[in-house]
Assembly symmetry: C2
Homo-oligomer: 303 residues x 2
């Protein structure tokens, strides 16, 4: 079967089949029942693979303390992706003026002020401050699922403003953390390939902002700090990152005072499955009707 790669036609086909529902804003569409079912089944499969690892579970809302964004240096690396929540702090007269402006289609943003929260850009962000102190000898391991926000409106279906990541986070010594990351890189590949996906790993870099960012990206690649598992979804030549593995070295450990049992600054790593992207990869690879997916894929998801 020859697959053609046209982002616009893929988007339209997802809409036609009720898998996504446009909302008039780029990258913020609704998900239909079948889309959600596949997403949940895949997430369950990840849980199944990880069930003996002993991860602790944490669930955070889609917002994060603004101080965490400021302290982690997110604004230095990704100022263009950050979402910050603003709200109204005024009294009745001003509220009426704001509502009237909004109703008249005029700008009302000058009435708003910054709140204490930003949109969570990565599911693991709220976790690190809570790890301050000394880790047990074996380090710690967490499992998290949540909504991430990135301000990159796009017509391309795999590039969303708001999407879910299933993440695992490991904190410990550099050796513990890297060994765990390497183990999951193989696991992630096997898991995605077992679903008939053309998944391949590669060294990668984050979309750092501006010219300075180019150097940071090059440095990140040189040090092999980031890997991705890529699957063709909207392009054969530029497959989509569906899984990301980040070794932070002691970045978060030093920021938040996380130490190993030996008294060293802790290292951390995280990995995330981009759940919506993996669902889209499955639709692209096996077709838009799940009833017609290969039986081995169906059996693996709907056990």
């Amino acid at each position: 079967m020859s697959i053609d790669y046209d982002p616009k036609r893929f988007y339209e086909a997802l809409v036609e089949h009720g898998h996504i529902v446009p909302v008039g804003v780029k990258g913020a569409f609704g998900r239909g029942a079948v889309f959600e079912d596949v997403l949940e089944r895949f997430n369950d499969l990840v849980s199944e693979v990880a069930k003996d690892d002993g991860a602790e579970t944490r669930t955070y809302p889609p917002i994060v303390n603004r101080h965490v964004i400021e302290k982690n240096g997110y604004l230095e690396s990704f100022p263009h992706l950050c979402g910050t929540v603003f709200s109204f702090f005024g009294k009745e007269l001003e509220a009426r003026e704001m509502a009237q402006r909004a109703a008249a289609g005029e700008s009302w943003s000058s009435h708003l002020g910054i709140t204490d929260v930003c949109m969570t850009p990565a599911i693991c962000y709220p976790l690190y401050p809570t790890l301050a102190g000394t880790l047990p000898a074996g380090g710690r391991l967490f499992s998290m699922l949540g909504w991430a926000y990135r301000h990159e409106p796009s017509d391309e279906p795999t590039r969303m403003q708001s999407f879910r990541m299933r993440e695992f986070i490991r904190a410990g010594s550099a050796d513990q953390v890297v060994e765990w990351r390497d183990m999951w890189l193989q696991r992630g590949l096997s898991l995605l390939r077992s679903l008939g996906l053309d998944a391949n790993s590669d060294v990668a870099s984050d979309p750092f902002f501006g010219r300075g960012g180019k150097m940071m990206a090059a440095n990140q690649k040189d040090q092999r700090l980031k890997f991705e598992v890529l699957i063709p979804v909207i392009s054969k030549e530029n497959p989509t990152a569906c899984c990301s593995f980040n070794f932070h070295q002691d970045h978060f450990g030093s920021k938040w005072g996380i130490n190993t049992a030996d008294g060293e600054v802790a290292n951390t790593a995280c990995l995330g499955f981009g759940l919506e992207r993996i669902v889209m990869a499955l639709f692209k690879t096996h077709g838009l009707e799940v009833a017609r997916w290969p039986s081995e894929v169906r059996q693996r998801l709907w056990r």
Copy 2:
């Protein structure tokens, strides 16, 4: 067993037992594994009760098209609760200035501009625009789960900035919609009482802003448009709204051009279970250790 009601001690007890994890911002805490397990089990129970209703499922991200907020009149009624996403639209030089300000603990909000999205204040908000047109004769019914945002930071554990609602939404004739709402009011009461909760319904009003809001609230009560199911969580005298039933009459139908098969403007109603609040009501009522909950409650949740 005498229960005392002290919001601060209840919050601390939830933290001590690992059910919630503070993040340094009011009403944005993390949820522990047991909290999440109870929440998911309760949500499953709602699905079980509703399984033969034939609801369509939709899942939206925690953001909504800003135009929906403007057009629905949310800023007229709840300007103080609305969260709006701002982002950075500048170039490299300004980005550096913003990051430096943030790192120095100075204000950096002047570098941000309004985006096309707000925080979803009610799970059903993104749905109404997609119902434009003519409904089938029986109307339509939807099931949704999502994160809502309200800018009301509070030390009181049941008052959150970000929380999950399990919602059902009905669109059709006034009779269809009201009959359905009344049926669910009884269902909701039975369901919560079957879990040993001291649940009672009452006519209610929304927290409309300002002096003008007082009139809107009184009007809403007079017309019996809103009901709540209340459970004592942090106060015996002022029990907490854990479930909310809203009859919108033709508000959304006329805004978004939704018509019944007869050509009338459609009526809508929604109901929502405040999932975190119900979990907290269970902890308050049955204690902080789920293993020691009454066996009939455990059996109902962990089937």
